[in-house]
């Protein structure tokens, strides 16, 4: 480890001649760009979270509590738009994908470093447009994040601007996807065959494909709505012969695959963390890799299950229902393989592993309630109720959100070269679990009892459940601030991290923490399988 001190890390070296803030804003280094995404995305996450907190506070009692109904409408729209387009879609790929995908395949950078920086700027422009649309005359958008026609044409709020922001953000997403696919094809180190890639790379690769296949469809749909608002072309306007249901189809052709953009990288992170802390090679490597592709492919064909009650033929409905059940299979393959990996492993329950346990529990609830919504008869009863809200939050927040924290705890030492307080991290996992279930589980019950989603007011019999949910939101938000607190503290005061604090064997654990600018002194030659823990001994001698 002697040469570790001699090597400068990427914080101390710049890709350009500038120092200070410009060395970041003009950087081509994938690691710095990843961290810039992290700053931006986590800020928006906090904004989205506070909006959610305010909505929950409003719902603590029936009737008006702290805001009027119109404000509530704009808040749930903004919560959706910010969390989906600014946090959860770019979250894992743009932060951890950028930082670790090139390292994990033994490359010095992504294929198009300048394009990578451009995607960050486009993301920031999109985000700025979202924020600006709040303050312009007309007021914040109130259509819900689904922008359903005809209300999104009639609404006098700043719908066009918010839509344009989503269009711009989609462009950023497409460019990142193109970059990652090309990187995986062109820049794998010698010996790094496709089936020697870590599973996070596989998952990010599959995600990148969905990004470039699905995003253009939402782009054109959004453009059509903007044009419709500006010129009244009539494409989605029933008064002129257009068909609002067609909008729903085109919206979900993107937005359903988008949930796989959100969840697949998270599944990739799980496939990294479980072997590392079980000290055992992953069970069913190829099956997990292929199941990512299968999810990407089948996930593209299930969109209309969002529209069971909006007017389709029965044939179409049962076909989409069937396809929905089929897409659960590859997810099941992953869950079983993860559990089988732990079997007879030497499990070391460090915080990242505990976060993954959290994920498996929460995501399983989310996944299984998805089947309830996927079958036609039950969906008719539950559609547009809190049940859908609860399902969605268990899958997205309990799934991707939880794994966001898992990834943060897993790669924090590598990214920043510091360790955080393990005891605090363990407490945070438990508090998060309690807060999360208090916040969202009552929504399943309320939804089953018939509480519709997006409602400002509710009947008195829902009061106890709403109250539990609101208290849960306080615990959850408190925990998240607690996490940010000890992580920020660790940045300054944390103990220095070694190059391999967890005993992982993928490429990033072979290089110093934080990594040097070029990642590797020379491009490495890969000889081992990705999760071959017999390397640990030689790695100690490196």
């Amino acid at each position: 480890m002697a040469n570790e001190i001699a090597v400068k890390n990427f914080y101390q070296q710049s890709t350009n001649k500038h120092t200070g803030i410009l060395s970041w804003l003009l950087t081509k280094d994938h690691k710095r760009i990843g961290l810039m995404y992290m700053m931006a995305i986590m800020s928006f996450f906090v904004v989205g979270m506070i909006i959610g907190l305010l909505m929950r506070l409003e719902l603590i009692a029936p009737g008006r509590t702290i805001m009027n109904a119109q404000t509530y409408n704009t808040l749930f729209t903004l919560h959706g738009v910010i969390m989906i387009f600014l946090f959860i879609i770019p979250g894992l790929p743009a932060i951890f994908g950028n930082f670790f995908l090139p390292i994990q395949i033994g490359a010095a950078d992504v294929a198009f470093p300048r394009l990578n920086l451009l995607s960050w700027y486009i993301y920031m422009i999109g985000a700025t447009l979202v924020i600006v649309s709040l303050f312009l005359p007309g007021g914040p958008i109130d259509t819900g994040w689904t922008f359903y026609i005809p209300y999104s044409i009639r609404s006098t709020t700043n719908v066009s601007m918010a839509l344009f922001a989503a269009f711009v953000l989609g462009f950023s997403s497409i460019l990142t996807g193109i970059n990652f696919i090309t990187t995986v094809h062109r820049l794998r180190a010698p010996g790094m065959g496709f089936f020697k890639m870590p599973l996070f790379v596989w998952a990010t690769y599959a995600t990148a494909w969905i990004q470039i296949i699905a995003t253009p469809v939402i782009a054109i749909t959004i453009l059509l709505v903007i044009i419709e608002r500006a010129f009244g072309v009539g494409i989605f306007d029933p008064a002129l012969g257009g068909d609002p249901i067609l909008f729903q189809h085109m919206f979900w052709i993107y937005s359903h695959p988008a949930v796989y953009i959100m969840i697949l990288p998270a599944m990739g992170v799980v496939s990294e963390i479980i072997p590392t802390f079980s000290r055992r090679t992953i069970f069913g490597y190829k099956q997990i890799a292929y199941s990512s592709l299968a999810i990407a492919f089948i996930g593209y064909l299930v969109w209309a299950h969002h529209m069971f009650s909006s007017g389709m033929s029965d044939t179409a409905r049962w076909i989409f229902s069937l396809l929905t059940f089929i897409v659960a299979l590859p997810s099941g393959v992953k869950i079983f393989n993860w559990v089988a990996t732990m079997y007879k492993g030497s499990i070391d329950p460090q915080p990242p592993f505990l976060w993954v346990m959290n994920f498996i529990f929460l995501f399983s609830i989310g996944g299984l309630t998805g089947l309830v919504l996927g079958s036609l008869a039950t969906d008719i009863h539950l559609t547009d109720t809190y049940f859908v809200v609860a399902h969605f939050h268990y899958v997205m927040f309990g799934g991707t959100g939880t794994i966001f924290f898992a990834a943060l705890h897993y790669w924090f030492p590598k990214m920043f070269g510091r360790m955080y307080n393990m005891k605090f991290a363990r407490i945070a996992v438990v508090l998060y679990f309690i807060g999360f279930n208090m916040l969202y589980f009552p929504k399943f019950i309320m939804g089953y009892m018939g509480m519709p989603r997006r409602y400002y007011d509710y009947l008195p019999q829902f009061t106890p459940y709403q109250r539990i949910s609101t208290i849960g939101s306080w615990i959850l938000v408190g925990t998240i601030f607690f996490i940010f607190g000890y992580l920020i503290h660790a940045l300054r005061k944390g103990k220095k991290a070694t190059s391999n604090p967890w005993g992982g064997v993928t490429m990033e654990w072979h290089i110093p923490s934080p990594p040097p600018l070029e990642n590797f002194k020379t491009i490495p030659t890969v000889t081992h399988e990705p999760y071959d823990f017999s390397q640990l001994k030689e790695m100690k001698n490196e």
């Binding site: 070296q13 294929a111 054109i220 010129f231 072309v233 494409i235 002129l240 012969g241 085109m250 070029e518």
Partner: protein, 207 residues
């Protein structure tokens, strides 16, 4: 960063096959973008076949054909300019690119006259004249403006890209040894052409 490392990283970034791959992926997203539009077109054509038929007769097939010929020729000139540069003939390459630019401009001018004639006849989205027509015709002209407009926007972007290539070749940033930028611009231009090849029959010819 030392010079040596700079060179090493720079070396890595010169990956022509990678650059082409990235471009093809981007073109793929463009095809899907227009694919969404073609889907909308298909749905409404199926729904209002008679009115689409009637509305299509209002379009000027002669101008459409002329534009098709112009655009196809411009695709030829851009392909030839790449070949010329590969053979080291910088001057010919520049001439051919300028010709492409000129064709593109002609295309846009003809498009302009087509649109303004329609607008002068009161056929444009939301016009009182158009609103008296049946829904199928409103949709046909709505789609006509949106799809040819979006395509026209792509022609403009292509013109900007080709202008940049002319500057790059003139300043020897794009050379016979390093012409992947020009190749990618050519690919983009072919896509613009390709989309028109589908738009032309769908709006002008199928009647």
């Amino acid at each position: 960063m030392s010079d040596h490392q700079e060179a090493a990283v720079h070396q890595l970034h010169r990956d022509d096959a990678g650059a082409r791959m990235g471009m093809w992926l981007f073109l793929f997203t463009e095809v899907l973008l227009f694919g969404g539009m073609f889907l909308v077109y298909a749905v409404y054509r199926y729904q209002y076949p008679d009115q689409f038929h009637l509305a299509a007769r209002e379009l000027n097939t002669t101008l459409g054909t002329l534009n098709t010929i112009i655009l196809l020729t411009s695709s030829l000139t851009v392909a030839l300019s790449i070949a010329a540069l590969q053979n080291g003939n910088k001057f010919l390459s520049l001439i051919l690119l300028s010709a492409t630019l000129l064709f593109a401009l002609t295309f846009m001018v003809i498009k302009y006259f087509e649109w303004t004639t329609k607008i002068a006849h009161g056929i444009y989205p939301g016009s009182p004249e158009l609103l008296t027509k049946p829904n199928g015709q409103i949709l046909f002209f709505g789609l006509y403006y949106v799809m040819t407009g979006l395509h026209g926007l792509h022609v403009l972007v292509g013109m900007v890209v080709i202008s940049f290539m002319i500057v790059f070749i003139a300043r020897d940033k794009v050379t016979p040894d390093n012409y992947v930028k020009l190749e990618n611009s050519g690919l983009y231009w072919h896509l613009v052409d390709l989309i028109w090849i589908f738009l032309f029959p769908l709006f002008y010819l199928i009647q």
